[in-house]
């Protein structure tokens, strides 16, 4: 960082040239971060840019020795072995998925692992007294005996902060703290973070909601593809949303996307007024009255932030495999179709490649050939009896056409690299001979070379006259592969524009605001 050695305010944290590698992927390369005492420091970047990894390095989730570079905290180089060590030093991280135990009370959660005790016996009177005090500091008026499962997400977030305060926090890390909150709860939380700043507690905040960052952050560090791009001072540099977006999107797109070949045909698949309710929370609609179309030979992109409802929309269409179906209609070639369960969806020519290939896409105990035929087993099993030779030949054909790198198709899928596993999943769904292939984050966690190959496969599928829906968090990928892009924000489709007219800036705007401007 080119900041001067002696800044005006004392520095509480300096991360110097942090590099973190995973097998085959460099998640962080020479990332630096400087946080002044008592400031709110925002970290911005696209999904997968390395923000969360950086915070895990800082909080000891990735212990000292698994990364390169130095962490200087309060003037000393620190080497955290685990989270316990970093918390002892006053660095507390609040994850996007809250780490509270639903069946325990607020008090029990605040003091979990940190109970006030004497001779090993918990002093509940003391605990409750302190809990009431902590709750007052975060502005939560609930009874401290209330079970966590009985309070909303907004209040749970406050309990997490109370828990952090109890640990004598000096540097609070918040990972997407408002992602699951409504407007009012978000505002309350932001005010609380500002209040903590008033008491000298510094915060690092990861957020996609740029208006919030603009509102409360003092400085912003932008990370892209595992590199630090720049650090901005909000007031001095006059930062606004457009400035942040420019930093996040940055460089010109490289030529790593295939040519768009093939003709785009007629609209053949339509979703009308699709409404889906959250599986657990009644009256919370995760997909709200969404309608869209897909043409033959067309790759339709879906852009949206995490939790915007992209996956929920896709999975609910694919045999109602997510949430509670409320209403909506599907049409294929002008005829109404029903996909009330997965096998009906498959029979109607739908296919869905999940974003989580290890948990939802593959049985990791299977070998490649078993996996390839898994979604339409009866194609090679006349009379319920599997034809092993046919199975082998099918798998072998896909191995060649998709260039799956493996000695034989008898190899277990758990031995393949991420990119090759993804090709196996693609083969599995191509084998069902779909008309519409829904790809949810098809290039997540795989390296650049394999990504390019996957893009080629996607365009090939489209060129065969099939429809493809591409859900992705990577805007360059959406812009480079899609023909047309929908944006989705909080369960509502907010924009629909040809890829040729879309820019990262316009997409990000529609992904982060509810202003509806659909021009069908």
């Amino acid at each position: 960082m080119a900041l001067s050695e002696q800044a005006a305010a004392p520095t509480i944290l300096e991360m110097r040239s942090i590099t973190k590698e995973f097998p085959g992927v460099k998640a962080l390369e020479n990332v630096s971060l400087t946080v002044q005492a008592g400031e709110i420091h925002a970290i911005c970047g696209e999904n997968g840019a390395g923000k969360s990894t950086l915070m895990k390095v800082l909080s000891g989730v990735y212990p000292f020795g698994t990364y390169d570079g130095d962490i200087v905290y309060q003037g000393k180089v620190v080497r955290f072995r685990d989270i316990v060590a970093s918390e002892a030093a006053g660095i507390v991280i609040i994850h996007q998925e809250l780490a509270l135990i639903p069946e325990l009370s607020i008090t029990e959660n605040i003091f979990l692992g940190n109970e006030p005790r004497r001779f090993g016996v918990i002093n509940w009177v003391e605990a409750k007294k302190r809990a009431i005090d902590l709750l007052a500091r975060v502005g939560l008026e609930d009874d401290p005996d209330t079970q966590i499962k009985n309070i909303g997400v907004g209040k749970q977030q406050l309990v997490e902060i109370a828990k952090a305060l109890n640990k004598n926090v000096k540097l609070l890390i918040l990972d997407e703290p408002t992602a699951a909150l409504n407007e009012a709860d978000s505002q309350h939380l932001l005010d609380l973070i500002l209040g903590l700043k008033g008491r000298g507690i510094a915060s690092i905040m990861i957020s996609h909601k740029l208006n919030e960052i603009e509102q409360i952050a003092d400085s912003i560090t932008i990370i892209r593809d595992g590199h630090t791009v720049e650090t901005l001072n909000v007031k001095a540099d006059g930062v606004d949303e457009d400035r942040i977006i420019r930093g996040m999107v940055g460089r010109v797109l490289e030529n790593r996307f295939p040519e768009r070949t093939g003709e785009i045909g007629e609209v053949f698949f339509e979703v009308k007024n699709w409404v889906v309710q959250h599986p657990l929370t009644n009256e919370r609609m995760v997909v709200k009255d969404s309608s869209f179309t897909v043409r033959r030979g067309e790759v339709v992109g879906f852009a949206g932030l995490m939790g915007a409802g992209r996956t929920e929309l896709a999975m609910s269409i694919f045999g109602r495999s997510y949430g509670t179906f409320i209403s909506g209609e599907l049409y294929k070639d002008g005829k109404r179709i029903y996909a009330r369960n997965v096998s009906e969806a498959i029979d109607n020519g739908l296919a869905y490649v999940s974003e989580d290939r290890k948990a939802l896409g593959l049985n990791l105990l299977d070998d490649i050939k078993d996996s390839v035929v898994a979604a339409k087993l009866h194609k090679i099993a006349p009379g319920q009896v599997i034809n092993h030779v046919e199975e082998y030949n099918v798998a072998e054909a896909y191995r060649k056409s998709l260039r799956i790198k493996t000695p034989t198709v008898d190899e277990g899928v758990n031995k393949l690299s991420g990119g090759n596993q993804q090709k196996v999943v693609l083969a599995k769904w191509l084998f069902t001979d779909p008309d519409l292939l829904i790809l949810d984050e098809p290039t997540r966690g795989i390296d650049v070379g394999a990504k390019t190959e996957i893009y080629g496969i996607i365009r090939d599928i489209a060129a065969q006259g099939k429809g493809v829906i591409l859900i992705s968090s990577e805007l360059p990928e959406l812009l480079g592969v899609s023909d047309r892009i929908y944006t989705i924000f909080e369960g509502t489709i907010t924009n629909n524009l040809p890829a040729s007219e879309a820019t990262p800036e316009t997409l990000l705007k529609s992904m982060t605001s509810a202003k509806k401007k659909v021009n069908n």
Binding site: F22, K358, D367, Q384, H388, E396, N414, L416
Partner: protein
């Protein structure tokens, strides 16, 4: 079937693992098969040849047929990610009803057997309903079933013992009837043995032909030849022993029932869509569901099938004992479960084979039998059996944690630098902490924690 490449070394230890079965659990099966052979030889020496005496072998089959029948159903239940604790009680309940139907209601044995199967199917549908469609964990459903059907057995039979007629004991005590010219051997057994040997050879040839059709690399010819020769020797030896027993004895009928069931269910698990779906549900039910597998139906059928096989085991058991009593089948479920786990099934589901479980069951059976022949008291036998189970599964878990398929897998692992090394474990997802040097076994992180794939 090309001739083995002469450039290759003539003997690769790894080829041995190709000798028996394939798939990811084959190493384990070879290991447990080896253990069985060692135990048999050991006891053969310690008992001065009593172990492989015809009379003892017949006892061995008759005494253990019902547990092995249960193991067939149990391994499928365990592959699907469940457990069934009720099989002993179900067997006992079916047994008392069948016995009563013959004694009090004068049902002919064959009708009584059909009745038994129907009752087994009804009980299985009941338990399958709770597991698959209500979503109660199988552990709970079958724990309840264990109590319910034990009680039902005693209620139905007034806690009395009912003696079954001779016509029925045939399936538990009977032998292949003798016929044809007498020259000191049981002709029926000889013919059966011959059929088995032909089947073994044919199976191996067929397998090699399939592999060459696939263009896959077959194991070297010497492996196949050795395998067939070994199997034929074992089958021939067993045939000889069974055929030369005491006059009037031959291969037991319960053994034939077992053999037919093993063949049938091996085919089902290996070659049918249903079998494939059972593995899919146990391996990753999320992925199975998203692939269009009707997981509720699979769970229902697996549980139902278990109870049907429990009814078969119950009837065989009653036929062997000559009577049905209130204490029948006690502890059978645990014997069957132990057999399955010794045979290489995974506690978390997705892994296991019928043959492995049968071999596992035979290990326990031979151990039991040999120790009894040596005059070891029952308390010590139980301790030894417990330790064997623990050590067998312990070795499996340990070797999996090391990233090796098994002890055999460790011995036969590919050396680093060999040309066909597959990339290991792939790219780790960015958001998952993986500080272990090689990463935990992938399957443990991907498997859903719940044991009941329904909500």
């Amino acid at each position: 079937m090309s001739a083995p490449d002469t450039a290759k070394p003539a003997f690769r230890f790894r080829d041995l693992s190709k000798m028996f079965g394939g798939g990811q659990s084959s190493g384990r099966q070879v290991g447990i098969l080896g253990a069985l052979v060692v135990i048999v030889i050991l006891f053969q020496i310690l008992t001065d040849g009593l172990t492989l005496d015809p009379t003892n072998l017949i006892n061995l089959v008759n005494q253990n047929a019902y547990v092995l029948i249960l193991a067939i159903g149990m391994v499928m239940v365990i592959i699907a990610g469940h457990i069934d604790l009720s099989v002993g009680s179900v067997a006992a309940f079916v047994g008392i009803v069948v016995a009563t139907s013959m004694v009090s209601w004068n049902f002919p044995p064959i009708v009584a057997m059909l009745l038994g199967l129907v009752i087994g199917a009804i009980i299985g549908a009941w338990q399958g309903f709770w597991v698959a469609y209500v979503g109660v964990p199988a552990f709970i459903v079958t724990l309840a079933g264990m109590l319910i059907f034990r009680g039902a057995n005693q209620f139905f039979g007034n806690s009395n013992t009912v003696t079954v007629p001779d016509g029925f004991t045939f399936i538990g005590n009977g032998f292949i009837p003798d016929f044809g010219p007498a020259f000191g051997y049981s002709n029926g057994t000889l013919i059966l043995g011959l059929l088995v040997i032909i089947a073994l050879v044919w199976q191996e040839i067929r397998q090699r032909r399939t592999q060459s059709l696939m263009g896959a690399e077959s194991a070297p010819v010497w492996v196949s030849v050795t395998k067939v020769v070994l199997l034929v020797l074992v089958a021939g030896g067993a045939t000889y022993l069974f055929a030369t027993g005491r006059l009037g004895t031959s291969y037991p009928v319960s053994g034939i029932i077992l053999g037919v069931l093993v063949l049938l269910y091996s085919f089902i698990t290996r070659n049918t869509t249903f079998g494939r779906h059972v593995y899919a549900v146990g391996g990753n039910w999320h992925a199975a569901e998203l692939s269009g597998v009707k997981i509720k139906r699979i769970n229902f059928l697996v549980m139902m099938n278990m109870s049907i096989l429990a009814s078969v085991a119950g009837m065989v058991g009653v036929a062997r004992a000559g009577a049905s009593g209130p204490g029948d089948g006690t502890g059978w479920e645990l014997d069957a479960i132990a057999a399955v786990f010794i045979g290489g099934a995974a506690v978390a589901g997705g892994i296991g084979t019928i043959t492995g479980s049968i071999i596992g069951g035979l290990v326990i059976a031979v151990l039991n039998n040999g120790l009894q022949l040596l005059g070891v008291s029952n308390d010590k036998v139980q301790i030894i059996k417990g330790l064997v189970l623990l050590v067998a599964v312990g070795i499996d878990v340990y070797s999996k944690r090391q990233g090796k398929p098994s002890l055999i897998g460790f011995l036969t692992r590919k050396r680093p630098g060999s040309s066909d090394d597959a990339p290991t474990s792939g790219s780790a997802p960015l958001d998952r902490p993986s500080v272990e040097p090689t990463g935990a076994p992938a399957e443990s992180s991907s498997r859903p924690s719940s044991i009941t794939p329904n909500v």
